[in-house]
Symmetry: C2
Amino acid sequence: MTEADFLAALRTLPLHPGALDLRDDAARLGELVLTTDLIVESVHFLPDDSPGDVAWKLVAANLSDLAAKGAVPEGVLLGYPLRDDKWDAAFLDGLRDVLTTFGCALLGGDTVSGGRSYALTAIGRATVSPTRSGAQAGDTLWVTGTIGDAGAGLAIARGADGPAALLARYRRPTPRLAEGQALAPHVTAMMDVSDGLLIDAERLAAASGCAVTIALDALPLSPKYRAWGGDALASATAGDDYELLFTLPSGMEPPVAATRIGSMSEGAGLTLTRDGAPVPLPPTLGWQHR
Amino acid sequence: MTEADFLAALRTLPLHPGALDLRDDAARLGELVLTTDLIVESVHFLPDDSPGDVAWKLVAANLSDLAAKGAVPEGVLLGYPLRDDKWDAAFLDGLRDVLTTFGCALLGGDTVSGGRSYALTAIGRATVSPTRSGAQAGDTLWVTGTIGDAGAGLAIARGADGPAALLARYRRPTPRLAEGQALAPHVTAMMDVSDGLLIDAERLAAASGCAVTIALDALPLSPKYRAWGGDALASATAGDDYELLFTLPSGMEPPVAATRIGSMSEGAGLTLTRDGAPVPLPPTLGWQHR
């Protein structure tokens, strides 16, 4: 089954009201926000990625989902397959780094033997917690930070030439926790960009029952990414940015640094423009599990 | 690293107070109880186990940890690697069965491609929630149900002759949720028997700072297990029972059906007896990840 088919089938099971019909990246239980990610060797990380970076990414990817809910991290539960002493020790060092950096505590977990996948459940607390589905026709679309850097970093990790700063964006992403908390009371919809800007924007629009238009020439690209030779379309279909994508009522400015990249309208689907004129969609909008 | 070494290292990381110093099977967040398990093909289930049974065991093993905390299940978060349509559909059927059977709802999760391990985080609610560490010298030691059936079932799954009822105890274990909720206000310590009665009793004793004595001739063995040829020592070192092991103040009777199998005393360590006389410990007390 594709991920979409599997999700549709899951929706026929007994669902908790806090599951938000499985149309969001996180669940709610009172003031708690819960999210879980499973990362697999050769799919979510490269076999020769350092163990510390794997730990970092596992935690950062989950905290990024909390960021999109405006939540303060409360704790994480780790599922860890034991390997050799050296790998385990390096993973623990990375885990310490990422937990300390983002002020997050370990709540529990499970260690197993065998397997090469790592599971994490993160729990946060939020009083106001946006969903993907609240965008309205007329809203403006924004993204924090710069996009495409992590996609370039992945190419560099696979052997391309390029600067360490781009590699670091792939290996040690930063969840936008403070930005998410500041944005939560103001946005109409919010999610993190993990699979690619275009596919994630299309998902936000679909969940909200709107169409979305994105201006390729408005996308925030870093000087390092441009110097590396990255273009806007590639940045918009690469994943692992962990920036926040959000919508605001027309005329409202965000309380944190962000770039306006498009708008929501009546209808459905994704339109791309360059210099105000529509351009064809690329064959792949981002990463999809199948 | 061994599981014990890894846990010791994890204890040097930033820990949440609700982590209970990682000495328990579940964490606490207010009235919520959280537990997570990662199960791996060829370690926790056999490659030819049916997908529905894998789903069942994944949920049941987690709910059993909630049972030991006297918690009412609130919901689960699933980490699922997609396979082929037939496997996925059968897994979903098993998931529906187990969620419906135990009145538990899906809260969220993550689907990935690749990998053969399954993660689940279960969340329950409890106002009184026992730990492993409250047993006192003088307490009596009890276990619900019968033990050893699942160990026999694993041997049958691997090709030995034997009745379907024992196989079912291995393939579709029952978490003792109602028993756990009834016991929680009365016990001094409680945990579920997942790795083996002896190893789990030794862990409970160690967490409580007591010694424990178990009478092999008192162990509750099912007629089917005895007829199959199972003995008490084998039952006490096999895992996957998912019965509740608990301690009560001397003289107190439990509010649910259970068997008194031993007692706690000053000191440390595990002593086994048969007909009142000490017998040597077996080389392995149960399942340990290394």
